[in-house]
């Protein structure tokens, strides 16, 4: 009797799952929270204008996205993953091990990372070296150049005498965030390299080079403010001495209350990022599983919508949302890749 009822329950639960597994008539997208605001606009535009089902987009972070994406081939795995960095070779290997061998890489545009403060005070003019000295856990000892000490700097003026005498207090994303990865890589490592003895470490001892350049201080000067960029903007308004790190689209939307710091003589403007003159900007990508293109309805339509000029072009709606478009030649290259579904070489 007991065994029987357990069997019946098991059969019931299996029969419940059967119809759900048979097919999926919408596109499933996962990945970066930075690409999320752009991908969702395209998805919505695609759904509303073609009458197809609107793709489902989960914001899992770039790393989480690859993990799901590389899980395997089949309707229960996502079709596309968004990323605010290129796929790593370890992730490609996971993909290949799980049978995801044909991946199309599409670069969609650029995002600038800004270091902003409240409009109530003057904007800062920084170099990447200043940023490194202000935020790294270990910096070259001012007394004995060539040696590293725990970061002694408390105010911006101590870092660079041309900066104001305010406390270093920077609100930024936690280590799980792609924005943090990119900021560390572009701004901090950029400043780190200006010290010759650290630069020479890159060849001799790559591991400790990375540790020095990529470790953010944990003594309270850098405050992990969570993934919510709106919250950082609000905190900056309340505290004019604090600086915040977030994506360009948030600066664009809140230009009346916060301003981006000038980095190496370049203000974070749309034009400066598009030209590649602003030093802290990174490319955004998405990756498509080729095996799914003909299986899941609407895949081709979504890809065509994304690579159309009205979406990622210079005057496109993604630019209105704060994404920095690619130069024309690059756009052409990637739309050709999409049209021919040119897959990446798996290493």
């Amino acid at each position: 009797m007991k065994v029987k009822s357990i069997l019946v329950a098991g059969a019931l639960s299996l029969s419940m799952t059967a119809p759900a597994m048979a097919a999926r008539d919408y596109i499933s997208i996962v990945g970066s929270s930075t690409v999320y605001p752009f991908a969702t606009v395209v998805a919505e535009q695609f759904g509303k204008t073609t009458g197809s089902k609107t793709p489902k987009i989960e914001s899992t972070g770039s790393g989480g996205g690859f993990k799901l994406f590389c899980g395997g081939v089949g309707v229960s795995y996502p079709d596309i993953t968004n990323a605010s960095r290129a796929i790593k070779s370890s992730e490609m290997k996971t993909c290949a091990d799980n049978g995801v061998k044909e991946i199309v890489e599409v670069k969609i545009g650029y995002d600038g990372i800004v270091l902003a403060n409240s409009k109530k005070v003057a904007p800062l003019s920084l170099t990447r070296k200043d940023i490194f000295l202000a935020l790294a856990a270990e910096v070259p000892d001012p007394a004995h150049p060539g040696k590293l000490v725990a970061n002694p700097y408390k105010t911006w003026k101590e870092v660079n005498s041309s900066l104001p005498n305010t406390k270093i207090e920077v609100l930024g994303p936690p280590p799980t965030s792609g924005t943090r990865d990119a900021f560390v890589e572009l701004a901090m490592e950029g400043g780190c390299k200006t010290f010759d003895f650290i630069k020479s470490m890159k060849k001799s001892d790559k591991k400790s080079y990375k540790k020095v350049c990529h470790t953010v201080r944990e003594d309270g000067a850098y405050v992990e403010a969570g993934e919510n960029d709106n919250l950082i903007v609000q905190k900056l308004q309340a505290n004019p001495n604090a600086m915040g790190i977030f994506g360009f689209s948030f600066l664009d939307q809140n230009a009346d209350v916060v301003q981006g710091s000038v980095i190496e003589g370049k203000a974070p403007t749309f034009e400066a990022i598009a030209e590649g003159a602003y030093p802290v900007s990174r490319p955004l990508f998405f990756y498509v599983k080729k095996d799914h293109v003909d299986v899941i309805p609407g895949m081709k339509g979504y890809l065509a919508e994304f690579s159309s000029d009205k979406a990622w072009g210079e005057e496109g709606y993604l630019a209105d949302k704060g994404m920095i478009p690619m130069p024309e030649a690059e756009r052409k290259l990637f739309s050709q890749n999409i049209a021919s579904l040119k897959t990446m070489d798996l290493k």
Binding site: S13, L14, M16, T17, P19, A20, M21, R24, Y26, S28, S33, Y36, P37, T40, V41, A43, E44, Q45, G47, K48, T49, T50, G51, K53, T54, K56, I57, E58, S59, S76, K119, E227, N228, D229, N230, S249, F250, D252, Q253, N254, A255, D256, E315, Y317, D320, K321, G322
Partner: protein, 429 residues
């Protein structure tokens, strides 16, 4: 001897001439009462502050700015068999240009078009598809204004700010003023908010998708957790022998009630999605996970209300020859049910506000289409609040607060229902 006399005097004092000791006791009691009262006042003032900020932020989301357009559905735009292929945005732009014929430069035109929401083109498409006969005519329509215009209308963009610092430019301001003077720009009740799914355009974003997702998820949760919870409570309280095993089960149930909810999400991911292969991001998985989460609450509440049924009821039923099962189903369970229902509703209200376990099973997602069934991808109210709070557009701030208002309405309704049921069916022994 004198000291002895004094003590007897103290003891025999009456209330009309209280001793110092008695006064001190009264004073301590007064302070204790005041302390309790001030704790309640403090808690209530926090609630009042919460409600005040949310309502003052969110009430404006229930209206939305609309612009009136004269749209000419030119026949040559609809030469293609497939009406959806027509260039609807061009129709909108055309009618905007007709209203402001002086706007010539490309830059200015772009600014002019940006006053209208992209939703306007979708709306024209819907209208044409519903009634293709209107092709060739000119009709007046109220279409959604862009979210920046809406923010300006709601006073959230300051026109005295420096032009570079606001999202509405000077020439856009003059156009907006003219539209208002002509009676072509006004705020209306925002039906879109209550009748549509999520959107990346704040003016188009609605709560219905999330509300329906919550409803479907809770439906699954209720229909699974109530019968299972009641059955377990009845078994444990009325039938189970008292031994080490039932003690172990009881400890585990009490522990489960205190386990962080994200653990249930991980369990759901491992079992329901990876092992059973149920589809991600769907109410069926969400409902199953929340069932696991609410079960301990229901079982504990159910057992408590079964315990409060006096043993005399059971003894009387058994005494007149009822079987154990008849005793339970005819007498004990009906008497305990109001308490069980209260526990269930409170468990449901808890499940309604839960996001953490749903994160693991993919319900934190951008979903535009309103879910039609339990296997459609969907999201829930608290997740929608989280997603909107994280959106860059300023206009989502008020949508977030409005969504919180709606969630709070549901919670208050459910909790008052619980109180009502308790008051109505409660039996005092």
């Amino acid at each position: 001897m004198t000291t002895n006399d004094n003590t007897t005097v103290k003891i025999t004092t009456n209330l009309l001439s209280p001793t110092i000791d008695l006064k001190r006791r009264y004073r301590a009691e007064r302070w204790f009462k005041r302390l309790g009262l001030s704790a309640i006042v403090l808690a209530l003032s926090f609630v009042a502050f919460l409600f005040f900020t949310i309502i003052s932020d969110g009430y404006s989301a229930f209206t939305q700015s609309y612009i009136e357009l004269d749209v000419h559905f030119a026949e040559d735009e609809f030469t293609n068999e497939n009406l959806a292929k027509a260039n609807f945005p061009a129709l909108v732009k055309e009618s905007m240009r007709a209203m402001f014929p002086k706007v010539k430069s490309r830059r200015e035109k772009k600014q002019l078009y940006s006053l209208i929401s992209p939703a306007a083109a979708y709306r024209l498409q819907e209208i044409i598809e519903a009634d293709p006969k209107i092709i060739g005519t000119t009709l007046k329509f109220w279409v959604l204004a862009d979210d920046d215009v809406d923010m300006f209308m709601k006073g959230k963009i300051d026109r005295n700010q420096n032009e570079d610092n606001r999202r509405i430019r000077d020439n856009q301001l003059t156009w907006i003023d003219k539209l208002i003077d002509d009676g072509r720009l006004e705020r209306r009740f925002n039906w879109t908010f209550l009748t549509s799914g999520d959107s990346r355009e704040p003016e188009l974003a609605g709560i219905l998708g999330a509300a329906k997702g919550s409803f479907l998820t809770l439906l699954i949760t209720l229909s699974l957790s109530f019968p299972i919870g009641v059955a377990s409570a009845v078994y444990l309280e009325e039938f189970a022998p008292e031994n080490r095993w039932t003690d172990l089960i009881e400890i585990n149930i009490n522990n489960l009630a205190a386990v962080p909810s994200i653990i249930f999400g991980l369990l759901g991911l491992a079992i329901f999605i990876n092992f059973w292969g149920l589809p991600r991001s769907t109410p069926v998985v969400g409902g199953l996970v929340l069932t696991l989460m609410t079960l301990p609450t229901i079982i504990i509440a159910g057992r408590a209300s079964l315990k409060s049924v006096p043993p005399s009821i059971r003894e009387a039923a058994l005494g007149v020859g009822a079987s154990k099962m008849q005793t339970v189903t005819h007498h004990v369970l009906p008497l305990a049910l109001p308490g069980m229902l209260t526990g269930t509703i409170i468990g449901m209200a808890q499940a309604l506000g839960e996001t953490a376990p749903l994160l693991m099973i993919g319900m934190v997602a951008f979903i535009v289409d309103v879910p039609a069934g339990i296997t459609d991808p969907s999201t829930v109210l608290p997740v929608q609040i989280y997603l909107w709070a994280d959106s860059p557009e300023r206009a989502f701030t008020e949508k977030t607060a409005a969504a919180i208002m709606i969630l709070l309405t549901f919670l208050v309704t459910m909790n008052s229902l619980a109180v009502f049921l308790r008051k109505k069916f409660e039996i005092k022994w």
